[in-house]
């Protein structure tokens, strides 16, 4: 079933690459493929189970212990579900005047398959291959269909994150070589973590993973590829970049260093937590100063992923009570889901603004609540969700992260709290500049969201509200207690 979810979008990409179809048909094929993948994942979800479920394995290179292994636990299933939903919504998002639409939808479908594959695979080499193929897909989406300095931004994104992924590859190989028997099976490594001893090698391997995944997440100070990539990307690609691709970094951080090197992680948890708090504050402060709509949202991603990194670091700290660490990890995973839905919606909104005005400069806007009440409504809801208003998904995540973090690193949690005030200021400032006051004359004919755009955003935001009011179902699915390493027992 999981293999099906990966192959359907890839097959659709292949189809679109070779069969000449029109814009509408291409969109329908890509959207349908993403929807089918989503359906397959929902079926897996309904199937239920504990730990890794829906496991399948086909040998590929047995001498090296490499195989096509798929299977999900609660965390990866939740992330894959969110990704598939976001792909369905972003491919269905109406794009007018799209040059070479068939290729665009082919790359979207390709990226969908690769991204879902990354979350459902249980083989580290396949993970790595999907990690890099994701870069390829996004490189072309930004470079070919972006605007402004799209080529340069795409290249920077690609090279920067590729440099990170090389480090990850080195780390993966080091892990595999230290297994009693050469294998790239994630379950085996989680079951008996290699490189458990203290020393320089585990530290270096850990560093390689943190830098590699940190670039992708992104964490201060290796985040500077993100703003240009977002600013120049088309709206749906931006939504995917923030919603799905950034999660690959945070997911990797949990899956590999946290689960496979728990003891090394515990030794380095404090610096990582500090890095998370610095990202929280730096992302929000720099976002506050941005006049460009997309750059502002992009930097809030640094802020939000900072919350996630703080949660992950706390979870792996082996300090405090197990309850606190579990809370923090729950929060980190929920933050990934919530950020995907919320920031996905925000970037689609930014895309809608760009399609109407070809402008992101906030001071050029104003008073849009008059001509575009629907846009104002969804943007307000998404902004409040992003600044962590209770009753919406972001709050659930931040509450769990902060309460958990306080049980382990009280001072860091207290400092990190400042981030929620700054994000409030920057999002309210954004809403005011966009929607309050007098409409400038050049924005007079601004068209409101169409029914389709509103409907697609409503799907994302309805989930945000549902998670906010009743998060129990998501938390039950994620089951952070099952991910948490047992290193605490050994100290």
């Amino acid at each position: 079933m999981l293999t099906f979810a990966v192959l359907v979008p890839l097959f659709a990409a292949l189809l679109l690459a070779f069969v000449p179809v029109g814009h509408a048909a291409a969109r329908a094929i890509a959207t349908g493929a993403a929807a089918l993948a989503l359906l397959a994942l929902v079926v897996t979800w309904i199937g239920g189970g504990e730990g890794f479920r829906a496991v399948a394995e086909v040998p590929w290179i047995p001498e090296l212990g490499i195989a096509w292994r798929v299977g999900v636990d609660g965390m990866s299933l939740a992330l894959a579900l969110m990704s598939a939903l976001l792909f369905a919504v972003t491919t269905a998002w109406p794009m007018e005047d799209l040059p070479d639409a068939r290729a665009y939808y082919a790359w979207m479908a390709f990226l969908a398959g690769v991204s879902i594959g990354l979350f459902v695979t249980l083989d580290l080499i396949v993970f790595y291959v999907f990690f890099d193929l994701g870069l390829v897909g996004m490189y072309f989406l930004i470079g070919r269909w972006g605007h402004g300095e799209a080529q340069h931004a795409a290249l920077k994104f690609f090279v920067y994150t590729l440099a990170g992924s090389l480090l990850i590859l080195i780390g993966i190989i080091a892990l595999a070589l230290n297994m009693p028997e050469l294998t790239f099976d994630m379950r085996a490594m989680i079951g008996s973590p290699p490189l458990a001893a203290a020393g320089m090698v585990p530290g270096l391997v850990f560093l390689a993973f943190v830098v590699g995944f940190g670039i992708k997440t992104p964490v201060f100070p290796v985040h500077t590829w993100l703003p240009p990539a977002h600013v120049n990307a088309p709206g749906p690609a931006s939504a995917l970049l923030a919603g799905v691709l950034l999660k690959m970094g945070a997911y990797g951080l949990i899956r590999i260093p946290l689960q496979m090197m728990p003891e090394t992680f515990a030794r380095w948890a404090l610096p990582l937590a500090i890095l998370g708090v610095v990202s929280i504050l730096w992302g929000s402060v720099v976002a506050f100063a941005q006049d460009n709509l997309k750059r502002r949202i992009a930097y809030t991603s640094v802020n939000h992923m900072g919350y996630t990194v703080l949660g992950i670091a706390v979870a792996g700290s082996a300090l405090g009570s197990e309850t606190a660490r579990e809370l923090a990890l729950t929060g980190a995973v929920v933050e990934m889901i919530a950020h995907g839905l919320i920031t996905g919606a925000l970037f689609l909104i930014a895309g809608a603004v760009w399609q109407r005005t070809q402008d992101y400069h906030l001071p050029n806007f104003g008073g849009l609540a008059g001509p575009a009440p629907r846009l104002a409504g969804v943007a307000t809801l998404a902004a409040f969700a992003s600044l962590g208003l209770p009753g919406l998904a972001g709050f659930v995540a931040e509450l769990h992260i902060f309460v958990g973090a306080f049980g382990v690193y009280p001072w860091l949690a207290a400092i990190g709290l400042l981030g929620i005030v700054i994000t409030a200021a920057l999002f309210l400032g954004m809403l005011r500049q966009m929607f309050f006051g007098v409409t400038p004359p050049e924005r007079a004919g601004f068209a409101d969201l169409t029914g389709l755009e509103l409907g697609l955003l409503a799907v994302l935001l309805a989930l945000v509200v549902l998670i906010g009011l009743w998060p129990a179902w998501l938390l039950g699915l994620v089951d952070a207690g099952g991910i948490l390493p047992l290193a605490g027992a050994e100290g």
Partner: protein
Amino acid sequence: MIWALAYLPVLAGLAIWASGGSRIRLGASGAVTAMVVLGLAVGLGGATGRHGWSEAFTLHAALPPLAQAVAVTVPAILLAVTLFAAAHEAARGLPRLIGLMLIFTGGMELVVIAADLVTLLIGWEIVGACSWALIGHKWRERAAGPSAAFAFVLTRAGDLGLFLALMATVAATGRAGYDALGALDGWSLTLAAFGLLVAAVSKAGQVPFAPWLFRAMDGPTSVSALLHSATMVAAGAYILARLHPQLSAAPGFGIAAMGIGLATAILGGVVALRQTHAKKLLAGSTSAQTGLMIAAVGAGYPAVAVLHLIVHAATKSALFLAAGIAHRATGSFDLRMKGIGRSLPATAAMAAVAALSLAAVPPFAGGWSKEAIVRALEHASVFWAAAGIAAGGLGAAYATRFAVSLFGKCFARETGEARGELAGLAVLVAGTLGLSALWLPWMHDRAAEWLGGDLPAGTRAGFIVALAATAFGVLAGLRAARAGWPAPQRDWLGLSALYEHGAIRPFRRCAEAAARFDDGVVDMIPRGTARIAASLARFASQVDDHAIDGLAPGGASRRMQGAIGGIAAGMAALSGLGAGLGERLSDLIPSGTGRVTGMAGADLRRLQTGLAHHYYTILVAGLALALTLVIIGG
């Protein structure tokens, strides 16, 4: 069922906002919702509820008498304000206004019924967000947006205290219920108590958070009437009263609460007395009166604080409605241009009752509750009682000045009062008059007993001094109303300017500097790395061309070139990530960076064609590196 107190007004508010309709329909549907909530609040006394929100946190609700008293007050005030708003406010955006006011009330009811800190936090922040939308209601006007944002950000800064209290409680006990708060001791109790105090005083518009209440005046009058009486501001005083049994155990809590409350009561009184803007006068007064409530909690009499809260809610919202009617008649909130009592006789009469109550003149309700607070403060010390009496005198002065300036002198104008406006005002004034029964011993003993608190016994001397201060204040207010003072130069004794110049602008400058640093310096990491990688790759390709090519001419060389480039790039990426920042700082950005980045990218992209054999070459390169690492490390 108890949750209906919170979600019913929210759902009704959304429905009213979505469906719209005429003024009468909006007013009627709002009023009916308010009455249903009122009925629920009356009927649900002692009820409890729970909601399995997440694995770690179960939301709890409860309605003990102290909470029930406030839970009844909130929809009662809402009823009056909705009637007024439907008749008074601009037709454009009226469904949104009424709808949001109902949602706002729902959030407040959630604060009231909360029995654990997570539920409290949820309601607390929903109230804050609604206040943003309500203050910014007239979004076309220049002032609305910045004022709404200022109010939300400043109160949210205070909310961090609530977050801290929650975090400290869960860290210490593993639970978030109010009972867990009572089980705290040591530093976690201190942190929780003072965190809650900070959150409460920020919502309650106390020093130093008071200026947001002034900025909130950019919202419609109905919003002010609701926000200043039974919601938002009241939430701060309420939560301290509700949690008094748990918080009072923290050392220094009582003194801190009395200090902040009485400082605000006196400073707010001065601010109100000097104001020439009708609504801002009332805003200063709200801070001052809420300060008295918080001081009463600090002195150990939460029941007295809640009684004053209820009395103040009816009184203050009535005065806001009266100010709104006067504004419609004259087109301005400037107290110096008014004096329209004869044109608006019914409004003037009702405003007089409310003003006398606010001035704490017997036998009106405000007189009793303020005297009770002075008696409570006497129990703490004479010093606190003296401060309370001084604040009472100031209250008498500004209340008198407000009523006399607005409705005293007689400029005849062609104007009238809408029936809806008067209906709202009448409900509130009737409430004030009804609450005046608190002067009767039977009534206030029963009320205190029901609320579960003692009434403080005071000295006769204290009572006489307080009455004298009130009388003196009324006389001073009369004089002030005739004196025609100029408008004060600075809002809130300069506190607003302090925020602007001491916090907001410096922060903006810091943020801009950080953004420049981010673009200029942090971004050197990738640019520097790319440059090193490129030069190494170039070097490698030269070696490849000159040395290796000579040894093995033929088809294999292309692949070898790729492999060596890959190794070089991989190693360079490793070393460059560390060295990049320093390297760039010493060797400023050369103009060719972009071009070089491009070349490096082109090299790497060639590796990234998606063809399997290229992956294997990278894999081999990585293996070699990993082996080196293992050898070095082992």
